[in-house]
Structures are given as C-alpha cells and as structure tokens.
C-alpha cells in the first residue's frame, strides 16, 4: 500500500470525516483546463483525485462521462498526456489516482505504465474492467512501484468473491453503490450500505463508495457508513453546464466545497 492513500484515509478518519475522492477525465475540456479544474478540486477540499484515462469504449460509464471522454479523445488525449496531467497536479495536498479501462494500460505496457505513473507522482490505479483473475502481471508491476491497485466490489458480489477481490486490492476498496453505470442519481443505491457492511467484515482496508453520489446531502449519507465518498459525473456535469472555463472552475469549486462539507460526520 502506498503511504499516501493510507495517510489520506487516516487523516480523514482522525478529523471525523470520510475522505472525498473526485473524478475528472484528463483532457476534458482540454489538458491544461483539466489540470486547473482538478487542482481547484484539491483546493476546495478533495482528498484524492481520480484522473480518468479516456478510452474509446467506456462500457461502465453513463452519458456524462461518455461525452467528456469522447471530447478528450477528440482533443488528442493520449496516455502520455494523462500521465503529464497527473504530474501537474498538487500531489502535496491530495493523493493522485488514475481510473482506466484495462486495454490502454496493457497496450502501454504494465511495467512501463506503473513506472511512469510513479514518476509522475501517482499513488494508485482504479481498473473497473480488470478482474483479480487477470491481474497477475499488473499486481507485480504495481507492487514494484508502490502503486496501489484498487478493484471494485458490487452489490451482486458474493462474500467469497469479495474475499478474492480484496486480496488483490490495496489502498482502498471501491464499492459500487448500485448495479449500473456511472452517473448522477437522485438517490444513492440502497445496496451500498449492506455492501460496505459485508465488505468490512472481510477486510481491514478503507472502503469508498462510488456511482451516483452528486450532492453534499448524499455525501453525508454515505459518509455515515463508508470511509470514502467518490464523485465523478456530477463534476463533469458542472463543466458541461458552464459557459466557459472560469464558470466551470467556479462551479467545480462550489460542488467540491459542498461535498467536502458533506463528508464531515
């Protein structure tokens, strides 16, 4: 486990709150703007940034993130650009993660990706379509670079399955709140709390809940039982709705502030 993610969760716990993890795709709306937006999120109280690596076939993502990653790809966002974005984020004040579908990492070379990410100051990688069964070389490469490997559990995961997932996981466990794709929802899935309870019995790792959290009130609700709250699509929506970059920065700062307030217990 990287010290950085462990620190983030223990610092949050010691101040009686859940860690706030915010997602944006690198390169949306542009590479430079995405750096500015993510640093603004950090400034407004986000504890860890999940930098999305845009992929042509994002089958776990809903409409907002699909739109953003398509725009990022059209703008020329390559894996090297993503790593460059990571390197320009304020890693002093937040842990830096990458969220990537598997093929771009495999294509880049798992050892090369882990090494370049570590060099850029990255602390972990979330891989939503990589299962522990297929993760052998990835685990070895990330261990060597002290990069955390974050896998997902879902409401449909059996206890036996959760055991196998957490055995390959470091940093924190990503609990998908609902059976579905990413996207802001009016309610956080009712399956989230029981899933966190079941997972907690099987691991000492921190557990963060994602999918469908978009408001301070939802963050508060989740912070009551989870160690971390993950918000993605809601940030993308802020940017889509803003007329220009200053507007997007203000909206993102406002939402991050509201969520940071929400995760206090």
């Amino acid at each position: 486990m990287s010290r950085r993610l462990a620190e983030v969760f223990s610092r949050a716990k010691s101040t009686n709150r859940a860690a706030l993890i915010g997602y944006l795709p690198a390169g949306y709306p542009t590479a430079a703007a995405s750096v500015e937006l993510m640093n603004t999120m950090i400034d407004a109280g986000v504890d860890a940034i999940e930098v999305g690596l845009p992929y042509s076939d994002p089958l776990m993502d809903g409409a907002d993130i699909q739109f953003a990653v398509a725009a990022a790809l059209a703008g020329g966002t390559t894996t090297d650009v993503v790593l460059d974005v990571v390197g320009r984020l304020d890693g002093e004040r937040a842990a830096l993660l990458v969220m990537s579908y598997w093929n771009p990492i495999e294509r880049y070379g798992v050892a090369r990706f882990a090494a370049r990410l570590a060099a850029a100051g990255g602390n972990g990688v979330i891989t939503p379509d990589l299962t522990p069964e297929e993760a052998g070389p990835w685990s070895a490469a990330t261990l060597a670079e002290e990069i955390d490997t974050i896998f997902l559990v879902a409401p449909s995961s059996t206890d036996e399955r959760i055991k196998s997932v957490v055995a390959s996981t470091s940093g924190f466990v990503y609990a998908a709140s609902t059976m579905g794709v990413t996207g802001a929802r009016s309610q956080v899935g009712g399956g989230a709390e029981p899933l966190v309870t079941r997972t907690r019995r099987l691991t000492g790792l921190p557990i963060a809940v994602g999918l469908g959290v978009s408001t301070g009130a939802q963050a508060r609700e989740v912070a009551a039982y989870a160690d971390g709250v993950i918000v993605g699509s809601a940030f993308v929506r802020c940017i889509r709705a803003a007329p220009d970059l200053p507007g997007a920065l203000a909206a993102v700062r406002g939402l991050a502030g509201e969520l940071a307030e929400g995760v206090r217990r």
Partner: protein, 429 residues
Amino acid sequence: MIWLPLVRTQRCEIVEGEQKLTTADSTVTAGHFGPYGGRFVPEALTAALDELDSAFRSAIMDPSFMTRLTALERSYTGRPSPLTRAERFAEHCGGARIYLKREDLNHTGSHKINNAIGQALLTERMGKSRMIAETGAGQHGVATATAAALLGLECTVFMGEEDTRRQALNVVRMQLLGAEVISVTAGSRTLKDAINEAMRDWVASVDRTHYVLGTVTGPAPFPEIVRYFQAVVGREARDQIQLAEGRLPDAVVACVGGGSNAIGLFSGFMDDVDVQLRGYEAGGDGVETGRHAARFAAGSPGVLHGARTYVMQDEWGQTIASHSISAGLDYPGVGPEHSWLHDTGRAKYEPINDDEAMAALALLSRTEGIIPAIETAHALAGAMRVGRELGPTAVIIVNLSGRGDKDVATAARWFGIGAPAGIEMAEGR
C-alpha cells in the same frame, strides 16, 4: 468463482520454433484459448457470468433441456440444414467440388437462430424474463426477437444507428416480432457501440435480464456457449459430406466477423488435421486504406468487450473504428478462439475486400439461384481463392451462413440496379 474444465481444450506445443495445435489434455484454464479470452468485465457482472456458466453446464447435462433444444432445432428452425452441391459456382472456383452448408434456409434466414434458441432456453432456465441483444446486420437481433416471441420473453435489441439504416428490413422484422429496437448513436454507430450499450443495460438490469450475446466474443463463458450452440453446423456438415463424397473435405470456409458461423463449422473438423480451416474477414476498401475490419491482417492482441483477442487499435490501445460494406463483419474485435487458431496456425485468415465480396454475391446468385448475405459473400469469395489454390480434386464446404434479403438495398446501390422509374438512387456506384 468456479472454473470448470472446457469440454474440449487445446494446447499449444512449441515444436522446433513452430507452434502446433494439439487437442491433448490441457492445463489451459477454462474460459481461455491459449492467452486469449478470459473475463475483463465490471465486477457487477461477475455474479451473472458465474450464474450463466453454471446454468449452461447443468443444462447441457440435463436430458430434458437437450431434448427440448433438439426438438426446436428440428421442428422450428428446420434442422438439419441441407448441404448443397454448387456445380455452376464451382466452375469459378478452379473446378473444385464446392458444397454449401445451407444455414440460409434456417428459420429467420441465418445461423444466428441456433444460438438464440439455445440461449433463450437458458434464459428461461435461469428464471429471467427479459433478453437483450446487440446486432450488426440485424440477423442476431431478429433471431433473438424470434426466440423471445416463441418463449414469451421480453426483448430489447441494441443496434448502431448506421446499421439500422443499412439493414432497415431487419429493424422492421424485430419490431413485428415484438422487440424494442434501440438505435445507438454513440461512437461509430455500429456493432461495437451496440455491444457497449447492451453491456450498460445489462449491468443495470442483470437480475431479470439475460444478455444473449450473438457471437463467440465477449467474456467467458460466452465464447464457449455460443460455440456449443453453433457446433451443430459442423456436426451436420461432417456427416453430410461423408455421405456425399465418402470422405472428409480438404477445406472448410467461413466468413469471420465475431466468428460464430465460422466456429460452428470449424468445430466439426477441429481434430481432423488434414482439413484446412479458412476464415475470411472484411477487407473493406482494402487493408492498405485503413478502412476495413481486418483484425488479423492489421490488428494486434488487446482487450475489447470483455476478452483478450485481436483488436483493431491504435498505439494507445484505443479501438479503431472498423469499416465494411457488411454490417455483420464491421467489428474491430474477433472471437478469442479465432485468435488462438490464428496464432497456432490451425486456421488461416485472410481479408476479402468489399468489391470482391459483392462480385461473389452476384456470382452465386446467377450461377446457383441463391442470394447470399453480404457477410456470407466474403466466405464465397474466399472459397473461390481456396478452390483455385487446391484445384479440381478438392472438396470444399462453405458455410452459407445467411440469406441476402436484408441486403437488397445495399446491393441495388452497389450494382446500380433496381431503381423503379422516378426514384433516384443515392450513393449509386
């Protein structure tokens, strides 16, 4: 997760620097074909894939399931499909003895019904009430909608917007059969994007929905399940050719999009090492133009739609949009078993360009009175190459995987025919 051994596994042995395929006992993990296949899916789908895996394995050991499947194959699909000698067409194939495995005569007009009925029965067995499917040419969508109507299940079919346009006939067929057709406007608006959208629906609806994947792609156990239900094609063809010729063929030929009709035919001859397995992928405008769907000629191993396989991708691992005049072959990935057959050399794959396929379509129509699907026309063009290569003593079976009714609008534009007076033929060539 329970990994059970495959019914038939393959092993790759390195013999003096050459890879040779054997069918000896294998240490290959189920769900994989050499390094290909596997499961690259959101965790939310793992439980459903495990459930499907165990339902499939118990079903095929259950005499009542198999009796029902066989009865439907006979009385509903119309199996066995005939093996037709194509003598006039063969004159253009170096005089080889060409036989057509007539999957076009199946109910709904293609081999797709074999898998759709099998998976519909599995859906019922798992107690699910809804089926979803992706479709490119529309043949799998029609087959799934048909099976849904037969068994009284709900059905939603995802189809790229580009494909709803070029296969409009099949959209209407699906709707008549009671299915909801969702036109997918993301990405390249073709089969790849339809699969993404079907996966997204499935993650959110998996407790009551089965995803009837239409080809030998996707996460395990789909490639194995689809192969199982399509293997009837190869079994019948093997018996039929021995009755007709008193011997096995020299080559069996099929087109390869995802590759289910090819795997169905190939599987009957996999262990017959003297029978060549020849697959034809879509060369589109020509591999050199970049506008094609030639995964083996121009792709590389990667991960797409849940499996490791040959993929058309750029240097960053982003999928490259494919192109083919045939909606059913217009896909940047391919079934993982084909990747393994390719690497081991057991099967050989070549691209066929749009123009070569369309010429074969016209030729079969005029020499045999059979209008094939444009997908199938790629296999026919391949058979012409194989026949000329092997000569007049050769016996060749072509999987005539589907009929061409759905393609008449595309063919009319291509050949500049069929326009009634007063109707302008747009995009005529």
